[in-house]
């Protein structure tokens, strides 16, 4: 694993550094991993475990908090502090921890049901507050742990145990939702693409504030192949749009790219016909989230054509835990805290 000092991770500036060399193995626990063989969660776990040393943090200052779902078993397998909480509430619990303990690096693992169904409210509020949390949303478009009901990201018409005639709900686009909820950082990556996963985790870790990373994850038992078009070697490069700050936004195979149409909306056209210099250049740091939002709308929820992968948005704005702690510090600096005089107040009388 590469040196860690360079990156600096401003978001983790208050977290103690490790003084030993770490490897992925240091982040493994002795607990048996209880996912189905072949589950995409394994790849994500391995990716995270090998990325962790890069942070260079004291292991004991890292905390993983999850809700409930297959994905939410994650903390048991990370040899750091961890809490497997209750369904949907991890962002709230993690917020309380992160706000009060700036010396910790707090990570949340959640699923498409956990984060977007029961936990939707906590998620959008964490995003707008911009608490220093890194939220990994494992999206398999299904409820895994409860054995396969459709989820808020399932495509309309999905036949599941609870929807034998097909689901009716229009799915959320987690990236659009997050941007609408004032997110300062939103990215998307894929379980099977280790390199991209690592890059994305790094970008999230570097971000100051809440970072939401949507990870397309395969549930091979209840929704096998949900993301196959983006994975199989024959199609993926012609379906996936790579978002890289400062680079033109094109499909991985370079054939088609994103341009701004006459009426302002984004089109996907043949790169050759317009010239690469006319392809929209990605700007993840724009204050105005409208471009990021527009990019999030390019993909087709059924065919997955034109699915952007990478960092949609990454901007710096006030971080909740910082301002939260700053108010306490200001108050403390403003005078001594004398409990006795607080209790007494100003209006007292004496009985002899």
């Amino acid at each position: 694993m590469s040196e860690t000092v360079d990156l600096g991770f401003p978001s983790l500036k208050l977290v103690p550094k490790t003084d030993v060399k770490q490897s992925a193995k240091d982040f493994k626990t002795d607990q048996e991993v209880r996912w189905c063989p072949g589950c995409g969660d394994y790849a994500i776990l391995a990716g995270v475990q090998s990325f962790m040393p890069e942070l260079g943090l004291a292991k004991e200052n890292i905390v993983w908090i999850s809700g409930i779902g297959c994905s939410s078993r994650f903390p048991y397998y990370m040899n750091t502090y961890g809490m497997h909480s209750i369904h949907g509430r991890a962002p709230a619990i993690a917020s309380g921890l992160a706000m009060t303990r700036p010396d910790l690096s707090v990570w949340v693992v959640t699923g498409d049901g956990d984060a977007l169904s029961i936990g939707g409210n906590h998620l959008i509020h964490a995003l707008r507050r911009n608490v220093n949390l890194k939220i990994l949303l494992f999206n398999n478009r299904i409820y895994g742990l409860t054995k396969g009901q459709y989820s808020p990201t399932s495509e309309t018409g999905k036949v599941t145990k609870s929807t034998p005639m097909g689901s009716l709900d229009h799915p959320f686009n987690p990236v659009s939702l997050a941007i609408g909820a004032e997110a300062s950082f939103v990215a998307r990556t894929i379980d099977s693409d280790r390199k991209h996963l690592t890059e994305t985790l790094r970008a999230a870790a570097l971000h100051e504030g809440t970072a939401l990373v949507e990870i397309y994850q395969n549930c091979n038992i209840f929704n096998d192949g949900a993301w196959d078009p983006l994975k199989d070697a024959d199609h993926r490069d012609s379906l996936t749009l790579r978002l890289e700050h400062g680079k033109p936004i094109t499909l991985v195979d370079g054939s088609r790219g994103v341009v701004r149409g006459a009426d302002g909306h984004l089109d996907i056209v043949d790169v050759e016909s317009v010239g690469i210099e006319n392809v929209l250049v990605h700007d993840a740091h724009r204050d105005d989230p409208s471009l990021a939002f527009a990019l999030s709308r390019l993909s087709d929820s059924h065919t997955l054509a034109n699915t952007p992968i990478g960092v949609f948005r990454d901007v710096r704005r006030a971080v909740y835990d910082e301002t939260f702690q700053a108010q306490v510090a200001t108050a403390k600096a403003g005078g001594t805290a004398d409990l006795q005089s607080l209790l007494s107040g100003s209006d007292t009388w004496e009985i002899a």
Binding site: P16, T29, Q31, A58, K59, E60, N61, I62, V63, I65, I68, P75, Y76, M78, N79, T80, Y81, G82, M83, H84, S85, I86, R89, A92, I93, A94, S95, G96, L97, A98, M99, T100, R101, D103, L104, N121, H122, H125, F324, Q327, V328, T330, A331, K332, G334, G335, T336, A337, L339, Q340, L342, L343, S344, G345, D347, T348, W349, E350, I351, A352
Partner: protein, 618 residues
């Protein structure tokens, strides 16, 4: 003109008017002066759920009652000696509580035929003789105030608004209250509006002078200070005392206080108060809902803070699942429930004790949680310290069960000396606690203290103690996930045993003559009315003892023994018999429930009657 001065032992005053009439403020000020004058006192604010309910209507009446005396009292009183009625609605809503001969000060300006019709008075009660058994003082309060303020550069509306100060001035004169504190208060409140300040002072003085000059009031009353234990005193409301208790506990435990909360009546003021005290390291977080509020508090507890969440009944319902998680995680957490009238939205601004069984049982599975209940406004301070002691010592969520009466009522409080407060120091785990067979050391997050059965509190950031916890059943000791049948049975019993084993002080009985055959058992805010009623009953010769539970879970060890000493046990509650169920089920004592669910505290006299009947029946 100097008037006759009559000495009284105690007085009950009720201010009543529209929500916008400033009755709560007038009552508060009168109370503060009365407190610093040295009377014992007890207050009962009573206001509608609307911010400004429709003017002139009965549901819109906002009232404030104060009972003060030259001796120890414990209730805000049953029947006011004086009613200040700012309009016909206030008169109509309150008249039934007045004893014959009571003084009624009415604002005649509001007794227009429109206002009278609004509340269903066919004729003006001031004129139809219906008030002849009272001492009515008809005063055009509004116009006199406006008249008194005509020199000031303020609008008519602003002048009218000062009528509460006119009333306060008059009452202050009538009961010989000191005035300085009120003036200081007004100066602070209107520091930025000098004209309004001057007008309010003038109104107050006009009221005072009116009392002095009018012939309508021929006597002035005096209530001597009450003998109290030596010390420095202040007046304090329950919510404030509770907030202070939490801050004090945090300081004594050296744990930063973290409040995760969502506003709800009547608990919001605790959030408001705590948010002012960041300099004590107090952190407050207004969450998106109750679930996030308790979730964040639990997260903070996990991180080594003193996690607290404050709410009322509907909020507790929402927090239930997370309370269950806290039970499973065995982390300290204080859940403050300021009970209000239920079910559902119920009567948000009224009091009730109907959340006891929710606090006991409102979660899935066997999830025992200790419960502590304050008995009076000032007692909220001590109860908060006690709740924190239990939470941190036993690593458990704890319910602190206050109610609207305790929360908004106030009484004199002997200010504690900080250094004499209990030491609540906590030790975090810092090293492995288990040796493997091969001699290596490791950390077992669920290895318990043999005495308290508490598990170690190992906060993130502690090197070498990395571990994972969660809501799934854990293996005893290691804390690893376990679906083993025997382990589950053991863990369920261990969690229960931990709570059952909490050391709580014995139940004390107050039985002045030591020969009572009937015991009145209570909990929470009914202490005052029960105490007053027992005293009344005793004065009438009834042999009755009183005991009051501060700890509802676990019960004091001697509870069963105490109960069995009496021929009859009466349990008055502002619910349909919740403590009674627990006591009967636990001790098989045929306790007699006496219940009222009226959103208001018991009237001592009524309760004394019930007690006397029971004593007579033995």
């Amino acid at each position: 003109m100097s008037k006759q001065v009559v000495q009284l032992n105690r007085v009950i005053i009720r201010f009543a008017g529209d929500s916008g009439d400033g009755m709560q403020l007038a009552g508060d000020q009168f109370t503060s002066r009365t407190a610093s004058f040295g009377n014992d006192l007890s207050t009962l604010p009573d206001f509608p759920a609307e911010i400004r309910a429709p003017a002139g209507t009965i549901p819109g009446v906002s009232a404030f009652q104060l009972h003060f005396a030259d001796h120890d009292i414990t209730t805000a009183g049953d029947t006011p000696n004086v009613l200040v009625a700012m309009n016909p609605a206030a008169l109509k809503a309150n008249i039934k509580d007045l004893p014959r001969g009571a003084d009624i000060i009415v604002n005649t300006d509001e007794f227009t035929s429109r206002n009278l019709t609004k509340v269903g008075y066919a004729a003006s009660p001031l004129e139809d003789g219906s008030l002849e058994s009272y001492a009515v003082h008809p005063i055009p309060l509004t116009s006199m105030t406006v008249e008194a303020l005509k020199a000031f550069d303020i609008t008519k509306k602003e002048a009218e608004r000062a009528k509460n100060m006119f009333a306060l001035g008059l009452l202050s004169w009538l009961y010989h209250r000191p005035t300085e504190g009120t003036l200081t208060f007004l100066k602070q409140k209107f520091a930025k509006k000098p004209e309004i300040l001057a007008a309010n002072i003038a109104a107050f003085e006009a009221g005072w002078s009116y009392g002095e000059t009018t012939e309508d009031f021929s006597v002035q009353y005096e209530v001597k200070p009450a003998p109290m234990a030596p010390g420095r005193y202040r007046n304090i409301s329950g919510n404030l005392a509770l907030a202070y208790g939490l801050i004090a506990a945090s300081q004594r435990a050296q744990l930063p206080l973290y409040l995760g909360s969502y506003p709800i009546t009547p608990a919001s003021d605790i959030l408001h108060e705590l948010s002012k005290h960041k300099k004590f390291g107090v952190m407050t977080f207004q969450a998106e809902d109750e679930i996030a509020g308790i979730g964040a508090a639990l997260g903070a507890s996990y991180g080594g803070m003193l996690g607290v969440t404050t709410t009322s009944g509907p909020g507790v319902a929402l927090k239930s699942e997370t309370i269950g998680l806290a039970v499973a995680l065995e982390l300290p957490l204080v859940i403050v429930d300021v009970q209000r009238g239920g079910p559902s939205t119920g009567l948000p601004t009224k009091t009730e004790q109907a959340d006891l069984l929710q606090a006991m049982f409102g979660r899935n599975g066997e999830a025992p949680v200790p419960i502590v209940a304050p008995r009076s406004p000032a007692d909220c301070f001590d109860a908060a310290l006690e709740a924190v002691r239990i939470a941190t010592t036993y690593r458990t969520p704890v319910f602190l069960l206050s109610d609207g009466y305790v929360a908004n009522g106030s009484e004199p409080w002997r200010i504690p000396v900080v250094d004499e407060l209990p030491d609540l120091a906590v030790e975090f785990a810092s090293a492995p606690n288990h040796t493997r067979e091969d001699g290596t050391e490791e950390f077992w997050p669920f290895k318990r203290d043999p005495e308290t059965l508490a598990r170690p509190w190992a906060v993130p950031g502690t090197k070498g103690l990395e571990h994972r916890i969660g809501g799934i059943e854990k293996a005893d000791g290691t804390g690893n996930i376990s679906y083993d049948a025997d382990n589950h049975d053991k863990m369920v019993r261990l969690r229960q045993a931990k709570i059952d084993g909490i050391t709580v002080p014995d139940l004390e009985v107050e039985d002045p003559d030591g020969d009572a055959s009937v015991l009145v058992l209570g909990w929470g805010s009914t202490y005052g009315p029960i105490n007053a009623s027992c005293q009344m009953a005793r004065r009438d010769g009834a042999k009755v003892a009183q005991a009051h539970l501060r700890h509802l879970n676990p019960f004091p060890a001697n509870t069963g023994e105490v109960l069995r000493r009496y021929d009859k046990v009466v349990i008055p509650e502002m619910n349909l018999g919740q403590l009674a169920l627990l006591v009967r089920g636990r001790y098989l004592v045929d306790a007699i429930p006496y219940n009222q669910v009226r959103g208001l505290p018991f009237k001592a006299e009524e309760l004394a009657g019930v007690i006397k009947d029971v004593v007579a029946s033995v």
